[in-house]
């Protein structure tokens, strides 16, 4: 049979050797996944999958918080409220701390990038009288109407003309709308319905100022049962004597980026910027926590995944010593043996990454389902498609980090000793 060895072709022998070795490694991996060693193979896949899945869940939550698709829904609401009254500040000292010049300030805030709108909010208890002479005290809330401002204190603003026309750039001489939106509770209390005329029993209101029921909120929101009326800010200011300094107690800001909070904190001295619910996650968590969470999850996944792959590869090389020694004995170079074992390791680790991506997205779905059933009304975690790529990339990094250990292990396989056995 001598003299029949084929010669290498045009493609460099090294390239052909490497590609053929990788193909053999793939065959070995497939056989191992199906054969008697399947437990070890799938253990490695499972270990990597678990690490990647946990990382994706934590990262998804972090991304969710960071991108505001979680507790804030699409909008982020901030309330700017005064800390204390003071003569040197722009705060106006009335029976409670209030801001002054709120209309131009709200207009300035609306000009900020990422701010959708801003409206001052003034609240006063007023006594209203229905057409049938029934009168009751209700909480009047004055706002600058805006199409994006759907609810205030759980009462709809539908029915209010946007822009607070009576304010008229500080002249308080624009069109008087007299619009009042009644909560279901307020409407029931006074026995009024849309279109009814309303009298306000306050001495500062001249007789020619009329009010009417512009809308009755019969929604299911919890706040709609309280006796609340929503009205134009300037008209309430006029009604309560707060028009002199353009006063309001709070400024509500709707924004799409939490970064705007720092800008809002500089609007008024001695003020506090709060989020809508006051106890939402943003107040509990530091701004950098999502990033910290994601980085920690990444590092843990890398460390745990790499240690797991190294351990399982160690067991595998130990169990495979005889075949590795055989390869060396028949002349397969150390480089090719490394390529063979490393490829097997990389393939199973990437498979683990893919399984981890599936598990991770399942975990994100579960987190969102559980949180929406128990804590929030919107998804907590973001299941962004890019996370799938991220999971696979992390698996590849884990595989690459374990390669030096594989090289060390292979160097320790004694050819003669193994062949002797």
């Amino acid at each position: 049979m001598a003299g029949d060895i084929p010669t290498p072709g045009r493609i460099p022998a090294t390239v052909r050797r490497i590609t053929a070795t990788i193909a053999i490694a793939a065959k070995r991996a497939i056989v191992q996944a199906r054969g008697s060693d399947a437990g070890r193979f799938w253990s490695r896949v499972g270990g990597v999958a678990l690490a990647v899945a946990l990382m994706l869940v934590v990262t998804g939550i972090g991304v969710g918080i960071a991108t505001q698709s979680t507790v804030y829904s699409d909008d982020v609401d901030y309330w700017i409220t005064p800390d204390t009254p003071g003569e040197s500040s722009v705060l106006v000292d009335t029976d409670a701390p209030q801001f002054g010049s709120v209309h131009p300030t709200a207009e300035r805030i609306t000009g900020f990038e990422d701010v959708e709108y801003a409206t001052p909010v003034l609240t006063q208890v007023v006594r209203l009288q229905a057409p049938d002479e029934a009168s009751e005290y209700v909480l009047a809330i004055g706002v600058v109407g805006n199409e994006s401002l759907e609810h205030v204190s759980d009462v709809t603003t539908t029915g209010l003309t946007p822009g607070d026309p009576y304010y008229n750039d500080g002249g308080y001489d624009g069109e008087w709308t007299g619009e009042m939106v009644f909560s279901d509770g307020a409407a029931s209390l006074l026995g009024v319905q849309t279109g009814d005329e309303i009298s306000v029993q306050r001495p500062s209101v001249s007789d020619d100022r009329s009010f009417h029921v512009a809308n009755v909120d019969s929604g299911d929101r919890q706040g709609s049962q309280f006796p609340v009326v929503i009205m134009q800010l300037s008209e309430l200011q006029t009604l309560t004597g707060a028009a002199n300094a353009d006063q309001a107690e709070q400024i509500l800001v709707s924004a799409n980026d939490p970064a705007v909070q720092s800008q809002l904190e500089n609007i008024y001295p001695q003020s506090t910027v709060e989020t809508r619910s006051g106890v939402t996650t943003q107040q509990v968590l530091d701004d950098e926590l999502p990033l910290a969470l994601s980085i920690t999850a990444f590092l843990i996944a890398i460390v745990v995944g790499t240690l797991f792959v190294m351990t399982m590869t160690g067991l595998e090389v130990t169990a495979d010593r005889a075949q590795i020694a055989t390869l060396a004995a028949v002349g397969i170079s150390a480089q090719s043996r490394f390529t063979l074992i490393a490829t097997q390791s990389i393939l199973s680790t990437i498979l683990g990454g893919l399984v981890g991506v599936v598990l991770g997205f399942g975990g994100l779905w579960l987190v969102n389902e559980v949180s929406m059933q128990t804590l929030t009304t919107v998804p907590v975690a973001a299941a962004e498609p890019i996370l799938a790529l991220y999971g696979v990339v992390v698996a590849v990094v884990v595989a690459l980090l374990s390669l030096p250990y594989i090289a060390i292990l292979l160097r320790r396989v004694g050819v003669a000793e193994e062949v002797l056995q």
């Binding site: 049979m1 001598a2 003299g3 029949d4 060895i5 084929p6 010669t7 290498p8 072709g9 493609i11 460099p12 022998a13 090294t14 390239v15 052909r16 050797r17 053929a20 070795t21 053999i24 065959k27 070995r28 497939i30 056989v31 191992q32 054969g35 005889a322 075949q323 055989t326 390869l327 060396a328 004995a329 028949v330 002349g331 397969i332 170079s333 150390a334 090719s336 050819v415 003669a416 062949v419 002797l420």
Partner: protein
Amino acid sequence: MPADTPPLIECQNLTRSYTLGTQRMLSRSAERPTVTALDTISISIDRGEVVGLSGPSGSGKSTLLHLIAGLDTPTSGTVTFDGTDLKTLSGRRRTKHRLENVGIVFQHFHLLDALSARGNVALPLVELGIKKRDRRVRAKELLEAVGLGDRITHKPAQLSGGEQQRVAIARALVTNPRLVIADEPTGELDTETGAQVLDRFKSVAEDTAIVLATHDPETLAIADRVISLRDGKLVADTSKSADISESGPRSQTESVSSQSNSVQ
């Protein structure tokens, strides 16, 4: 073979000792015991010669085989392959030397489970960077030569012990090595299958030097020459052609050659 042709393998005062490492944990400085597996062996093997190594377990057969094949390095002495002292080669070059010059047949076959018979035979050709089509043709030729032309796509688990050993023989010969070593090649085969395997082995090896280590007299029967070892020492070197004293190292055993049968 012309009388002036140098031998393919020449072993000079070959000694291989192993240090027992169990005391290392207790004391690094303690004198560790050693065992001598091979003691100043000098032999030579010509091109195309079939040499049998005989002797009881622990006599040093496998150790000598590994040293000749370049799987191991001697503690002292030299193994020269076609004029090259194997001890001077780096690990990488020794591996390349085995790939190009040495075929190895193991007692336990050591085939890769994931590969077919053809894939196992072609494995050394992968390392040589041979084209896939050529690898397949060459592997098929050899499998047909060892009587496995109808088993080329079978995995090792689908082959009998004899068939697996024939695949291993085909793998050992696929690069046309100048030397084939076989450690108990029929050790796991029944007598009839072993005889068939050996017939195939000798017929396909042609001009290749073969060194067989075995206890089995049937296997030794195919050898041109039998070297007997005991306790790491050479005790007999018997040639069938009776030209025992042709070379220097071989003359070392002239005085004991008459005892070779009893040693075996």
